[in-house]
Symmetry: C2
Subunit: 494 residues, 2 copies
């Protein structure tokens, strides 16, 4: 959930000063239209890591908009009035009416997270609470509320780095105490509970938006833009008379230029000679792993996604080179067959799940729903928005069954793609691999990039993480995939 919020997003002062006046005006306009329409309320939930700037952001939003029409509530210890009623009573009395914005700062998520992180409740109990929350928020959405859930995140690495830096300097070492590290450990536990909570409650109708909290400019602008875009989208739907209740806040692209894909160094070095040696070694490792008796109780599912000409086919051949043909199946995913179209979209992937002791490699996969189907409009927004949670549920079932699941995004640059396209057109036996559609898709590069970042943020989980593979150099890409696979298999079978 937090991948994109650990990239060091930042907006320079000069740029910030250019953006803000316009954003403030836009927010005020949207707020005015919200009030004069009076048909729905906006509920902003503010949660996240301590010190990630939640309070300041709430203050800024109040400063940017008309605070008379924003109801901000912070929840600390319950009053005796509140303790006398069921726990949700105090949140019910703080709900914004139609036409207004309500900011709940510390809300129904706070206590369950604290209770779980401190070990005072267990996972099933936490899940039960999350489901109650899901039902509650679903009801609010059905009743017309626009819910915007903001999670302010601070990277663990950033924190750790900061402590380490202080420690390694003789002059500042005294400032790092055991208590600081203890607090950092606690941060770890909170992080893992938060990941779980966000995954469980990021629904198609009320998704979490994670905002990196390190840079205040980035934080303010992102929060403001998310709020504005969500209101504008809903206002536009209401104006067209749409029954807009099922539409969530749009997933925003980063407000600076950084994102998961352009943060990669795509051109990694690996010579042919090193490659040959490593390939043999890694294929040997993999061959041994799948022959282990213990693998007879497990299975392996490998997912490949990537832009056209990303090198999926070649990589897959390097994997199957290590396997017995009777043991694996490659499932290439193109447009669904008639039989498949008559079923829910996940059906055609369920049917190809491997038996125990087998391997299935998906050349493209169920992620088509949130990539090509999203970008090309083959399904509605509400369909791909709910798909993230559905995919997480699906993969959760695979992993609980003991399937080792590895997901690879082969990342290439636009230049590299162009080079490969041109090569394909020149080489006779490769010409079948390049079509008009490939050229068309290429034009939608930014839309695909946005979709990929959302996909990784929303489906890279502790139990089924994505591996982003720098693939401009094919040798590097293949070795990284094989090494990752062997690593995952080794962990699972040990």
């Amino acid at each position: 959930m937090f991948e994109s919020a650990e990239l060091g997003h930042r907006i320079e002062k000069a740029q910030y000063d250019r953006i803000v006046p316009r954003l403030r005006a836009d927010l005020l306009d949207a707020q005015f239209d919200l009030g004069s329409l009076g048909r729905f309320s906006v509920l902003v939930l503010v949660n996240g890591v301590d010190g990630a700037g939640k309070g300041e952001t709430v203050n800024i939003l109040n400063a940017w908009m008309d605070p008379r029409h924003i109801h901000t509530h912070a929840f600390g210890e319950p009053s005796d009035e509140e303790r006398d009623r069921p726990p949700m009573w105090r949140f019910w009395r703080s709900l914004p009416p139609k036409g207004k914005i309500g900011i709940l700062f510390g809300n129904w998520y706070t206590e369950p997270i604290v209770e779980r992180a401190s070990g005072r409740c267990d996972d099933p109990a936490l899940d039960q609470q999350m489901e109650q929350i899901n039902r509650f928020e679903d009801m609010l959405v059905q009743e017309g509320t626009l819910i915007i859930k903001l999670w302010f995140h601070l990277s663990r690495q950033a924190q750790r780095k900061r402590l380490k830096a202080l420690e390694s300097d003789k002059a500042t070492r005294w400032r790092v105490t055991a208590a600081d590290w203890k607090h950092f450990e606690l941060y770890d536990r909170y992080h893992s509970v938060a990941e779980h909570v966000l995954r469980r409650t990021s629904t198609g109708k009320a998704p979490w938006i994670v905002i990196e909290g390190t840079d205040e400019h980035y934080r303010y602008v992102t929060a403001g833009k998310v709020l504005h875009d969500a209101m504008r989208k809903r206002l536009a739907q209401e104006a067209r008379g749409w029954h807009a209740r099922v539409n969530a806040a749009p997933l925003p692209p980063a407000t600076d230029t950084r994102h998961l894909l352009n943060a990669l160094s795509l051109r990694q070095k690996l010579t042919r000679r090193e490659y040959d040696a490593q390939l043999e070694r890694e294929q040997g490792r993999l061959a041994k792993l799948v022959r282990k008796t213990r693998f007879g109780k497990r299975a392996l599912v490998v997912v490949f996604e990537g832009m056209d000409a990303g090198g999926k086919g070649g990589t897959i051949r390097r994997i199957t080179g290590a396997l017995d043909a009777r043991q694996y199946e490659i499932v290439p995913i193109a447009a669904p067959s008639e039989e498949e179209r008559a079923q829910p979209y996940l059906w055609r992937f369920w049917r190809h799940l491997p038996r125990r002791g087998r391997v299935t490699i998906f050349d493209r996969s169920w992620y088509g729903r949130v990539l090509v189907e999203r970008v090309e409009g083959y399904c509605g927004e509400s369909d791909w928005m709910r798909a993230y949670a559905e995919i997480n549920d699906f993969e959760d079932q695979l992993v609980r069954h003991g399937i080792v699941l590895a997901k690879f995004w082969l990342a290439i640059s636009q230049d590299e793609q162009l080079k490969r396209f041109q090569e394909r057109e020149k080489t006779r036996f490769k010409r079948f691999k390049i079509t008009d559609e490939d050229w068309r898709n290429r034009k939608k590069w930014p839309a695909y990039e946005h979709a990929v970042c959302d996909m990784v943020d929303r489906t890279s989980t502790e139990i089924a993480p994505w591996t982003l593979v720098e693939a401009d150099n094919k040798y590097h890409a293949r070795i990284k995939v094989l090494k990752t696979l062997c690593g995952r298999m080794g962990e699972a079978l040990d």
Copy 2:
């Protein structure tokens, strides 16, 4: 959940023979239209008590329709193919394609219920599974599937009566063994798990339909009609080009003439003299109960619903007669205020919840959503359909907080209502109590009765049961209410 399915529903042979030819033709027509449209699939889940006729009903449905377009699957022990995949795999491969009907007999509900009833899993684990099922079914609905969930029920009383009758007769006593009673005990446990499961998974989009299984004619006709009406409703929506995905099978009225309300003997005997004596006694009991120290940690919420002139006001006065004016609040519920209309519909009930040690009496309540709003069309079908689960969630929160919750339906006959209306028109100081609207509502008597039966079936739960009060005789009604209240309070405070 099972109230209406314990009334001894039955359809005589002659009537059955009249109904069936028409029903079969209708079913075949609907099945044909389903196939030629090919835009959605119909998934029928068949569950319920052993011996309630599930298998026979599935056979009849296959006989009545074209079995080539029905896929019937029964699930026993998983095959080794199935055991090699995640548990849901075998259900995925059995889903009907668009244009077809799939009957799943023994399905994703079977194992969780058995596991819980046999004590091999606990309540949180069961709830977790139910939420997974809810998410799964929600996805199917979003993907276009029409889900019809049939639960075949056998009354416990009927079973118990049967055993008792055999036992009390010298000639048959030998037939009742300890094992029989043991099995009956198990039935009890299954009953309570089933109630919980049905409550948790009866959603607005995929509600359970409970069918009494004792009489085979009733069982077949009801199952057939439910299936037919659901298909026809959906086909009509598709024909109008509606985005019909959120619409569930309609809740059927009983296919015979029996229902919860007409099964009551409304005119109970109680003389004025007996009434006066009992009233004093019960008011005294109640007064003592609310003064108990232990009540300081609890609270009491009393809900009154009933047809116009059902005697709510008079009954409420007999309760408050036992209370200190500082301790209680009466909340009369009419049309919502402007402030209330700007909030989710439950908001105006949350705001009136009592503090600890207090009493709130609702003269009409949140049940307006599934009564007047349903019948008069003040909200959409999907709104009142989801309200049952929302209300159960709401009441669950009250009870978990320690609130004693008592819900009364004051049942009067149409004749009695007419008599009271006429009295009111004659009596000067009562004339304000009768309006044109009362006369208009009276004309919708059957629609209200249907709504009341659904309400009781879907919201009378173990933790918050409805009490149906025979109220043609006001004296009887008031005493029954007071006695029930004292009983609930006594249980809660002991």
